[in-house]
């Protein structure tokens, strides 16, 4: 068996009011891909941040090649050969793509940075990820998925002994995921140890060698991937059987057939060609497409975040022309954006405030929702979506990524919309909560809510869509209904030329 590179022993970490790691052990060998699994808020990201010096451990030892290390920050960890891609995309929107990739290790000539080389190398590196973009543009001009790939490319390029990937695939398409796996296997062959956090069990079985599972800040155990069954794995993660989650199979549900939203030839220069889409009450319309196919753009245009350059929108039978999200919200829409960190959370505000804000806006500022009612709403959603928190007054930034996502979902559900647009709604959500959310969505649809869901996960789209609209190159290519909705057909539509 290959040799141990990184070993964590009896790690403890406390935050005010939360004991986030209670004596966790973890062992990573050279040349293995090691899955770190657990529910939202189990402590995965915290463990990773302790390993890399972002947080200081309260107790325990970290050994790198059998030597105790005390990293004080990411820089120290990098110097020791540990490279990390953190859960939220942590790159710098103001710098160019190339600068982001080489920040802190730019190639120099005569002591000065050689920008030509930086740009060439960056472009070359990204080609390996099938990403052919202008690396001299600021990072902020690319979608969150592209940013995630860039972050991965940076992390992989720097890895010397250990590479840590915290939910790198959360907003990637199947194709990109395959590319990533190919690269991970390459690194593995070169003897690099890889820690891989994900909530997609298929991916765990596709690429990892061993699995460490955390539950409620504690270690459940370490397993060989090959010998652990899916049911056992879920059982270990949730502490209960999969059966308790309800089935995960597609289930047709009734739609009323009354048109709710009808969009004709909506377009915006340089971002979306004229596209039609119609949604009825109780219907779920899935948006499928590759990275950059225009799903996010379409959602933003409907919701009035961006100004449309042409097209008509009818909502509730009335022609509407939203000049801002506020109009859309008051008319009864909601949009849960894909970039959680940038467009979703209000970091310093409490969970309660984050949940009630959209509803408050809908009601108007003078009709203040009383504190009691706010707490009621927040507590309800926290329970219903099983947000792991001790207190609804905690700032949302202190929640784990998946739990933040649940709170943002709750925000939009709390606003009682008649049409809800979800852009990658289950990013980073664990399988238990995933099932919970799908069940919730179905329940709401039965009550007449209509949904537009953009998702990179075909399984998920298939699971609850009545209709799937496929986009390619910022254009609608086809619309699938009924039996046509299956992963193969969607893949064909996406890929066809």
């Amino acid at each position: 068996m290959s040799q141990v590179v990184l070993q964590l022993q009896n790690i403890h970490k406390k935050f005010p009011g939360v004991h986030a790691l209670k004596g966790v052990n973890f062992t990573l060998r050279a040349g293995e891909i090691h899955a770190l699994l657990g529910e939202n808020g189990a402590g995965k990201s915290t463990l990773i941040k302790v390993m890399t010096g972002v947080y200081q451990r309260d107790d325990g030892d970290i050994l790198l090649n059998n030597q105790a290390i005390f990293p004080n920050n990411t820089g120290d960890a990098q110097a020791l050969g540990i490279s990390t891609v953190y859960q939220e995309v942590n790159l710098l929107p103001n710098l160019t793509v190339a600068q982001n990739i080489y920040l802190g290790r730019e190639p120099r000539r005569f002591g000065l940075i050689n920008w030509t080389k930086v740009n060439q190398d960056a472009a070359q590196l990204l080609k390996g990820y099938d990403l052919d973009i202008d690396v001299t543009q600021p990072l902020s001009s690319y979608s969150i998925a592209v940013q995630q790939l860039i972050a991965i490319a940076r992390g992989v390029d720097m890895s010397a002994k250990v590479l840590i990937l915290d939910e790198p695939t959360a907003s990637l398409d199947a194709d990109e995921v395959q590319t990533l796996f190919r690269i991970m296997r390459d690194l593995k062959a070169r003897g690099i140890g890889i820690v891989f956090v994900t909530h997609f069990l298929d991916q765990v079985y596709a690429v990892t060698d061993r699995i460490t599972i955390l539950r409620s800040a504690q270690l459940v155990g370490e397993f060989e991937t090959a010998t652990l069954s899916r049911a056992e794995l879920i059982g270990h993660m949730l502490g209960k059987e999969l059966a308790a989650l309800g089935e995960h199979k597609p289930q047709a549900h009734a739609t009323s057939g009354d048109a709710l939203l009808s969009v004709q030839a909506i377009s915006r220069q340089a971002t979306l060609s004229p596209t039609d889409i119609a949604v009825s009450k109780g219907e779920v319309v899935g948006l499928a497409g590759l990275l950059g196919s225009g799903r996010t753009e379409l959602c933003r245009l409907i919701f009035g975040v961006d100004k449309k350059h042409s097209g008509n929108v009818t909502f509730h039978g009335q022609p509407v022309n939203f000049s801002s999200p506020r109009d859309a919200i008051i008319a009864g829409m909601g949009l849960c954006p894909e970039d959680r960190k940038h467009d979703g959370i209000l970091g310093q505000l409490s969970i309660r405030e984050n949940i009630i804000l959209a509803r408050q806006v809908k009601q108007g500022w003078w009709k203040f929702i009383s504190r009691k009612e706010q707490e009621e709403i927040a507590n309800n959603f926290v329970k219903e979506l099983s947000v792991a928190t001790s207190d609804i007054e905690k700032p949302i930034e202190q929640l784990s990524g998946g739990n933040q996502q649940k709170v943002i979902l709750a925000r939009w559900l709390a606003a009682n919309p008649s049409l809800l647009i979800l852009d990658e709604p289950t990013r980073g959500i664990d399988i238990g909560a995933h099932a919970e959310i799908i069940r919730l969505i179905r329940k709401l649809c039965d009550q007449g809510l209509a949904l537009i869901v953009a998702s990179s996960e075909l399984e998920e789209l298939v699971a609850f869509s009545n209709k799937v609209v496929v986009l390619r190159d910022r254009q609608k290519v086809t619309e699938l209904t009924g039996d046509e909705i299956n992963p193969q057909r969607i893949m064909q539509a996406i890929a066809a030329h």
């Binding site: 920050n73 820089g75 802190g104 120099r108």
Partner: protein, 318 residues
Amino acid sequence: MLNRKFIPLTITCCLFFLLFGIGSVQFEGFGSTQVFFNLFSDNAFLIIAAVGMTFVILSGGIDLSVGAVIALTGVVCSVLISRYQLHPLIVFPIVLIGGTIFGAIMGAIIHYYKMQPFIVTLAGMFFARGLASVISEESIPIEHEFYNQVSAFGFEVLGGAWIGSSTIICLVVLVIAIITAHYTRFGGRVYAIGGDANSAALMGIPLAQTTIRIYAISAFLASLAGIVYSFYTFSGYSLAAVGVELDAIAAVVIGGTLLTGGYGYMFGTLMGVLIMGVVQTYISFDGTLSSWWTKIVIGLLLFCFIALQQLLIKTTPR
């Protein structure tokens, strides 16, 4: 094709020359090389201080202490030179090192105690000015042969304009700063911290070291500006350069740097200073404005300029 990220900077440059052109048409003697180079020699200390400020603002911080550091430097220089008869070339390293340490301490407090730059440097401003007035409330003239030589140094360019030592120093500082900001790893770190300090830390940028260095550089340049200021006035005075920090901030921002950090160019700062200088020159050439109209017109010109800048940048097709 012009790179689109340079469009705002280009627009700013064009507006400067437009302003200068208007003055030249309107007043005799305005459109001379003398007036143009006076902009540099009159504002040399401001350019140097604003260059330091640019580093700070690019990193998302702010340094309110520069004006006070300029004054303190002047006072210390004049006391050491005039009272203690030290040679300026001994005094300068002392004040420059002292200034740098002062800045480093502010940077360390900001980083380690997680305090806001605005407040720490405001306290730094009170401290430096307070120290200056404790050392000497009165202004102290500097009389030293070296000062005369330095101020006599320079050369004439066409049109009778004089390029003196202050102009040379400030241009050298500017060039070094441009190289540092855009061609060194340190410069990259400054932009990185300004973009998002948390992300930068997660990408492995040494926050402590970088923050301390940034404030040390700013204070070092403020001290240097203090020395240049002392060449400008041959004296040290605890009330000198009041409000220079605001001028420097305004120059940096007019030059297109975002106060929230992460975006901007060193060269823009030079343009910012020159623009404010042209406005001032314009007003004194006019010479009919009363005290209050002077203020109102400065405000109006500033507004017109910024509004025009915004408008042009927004409507320029990308």
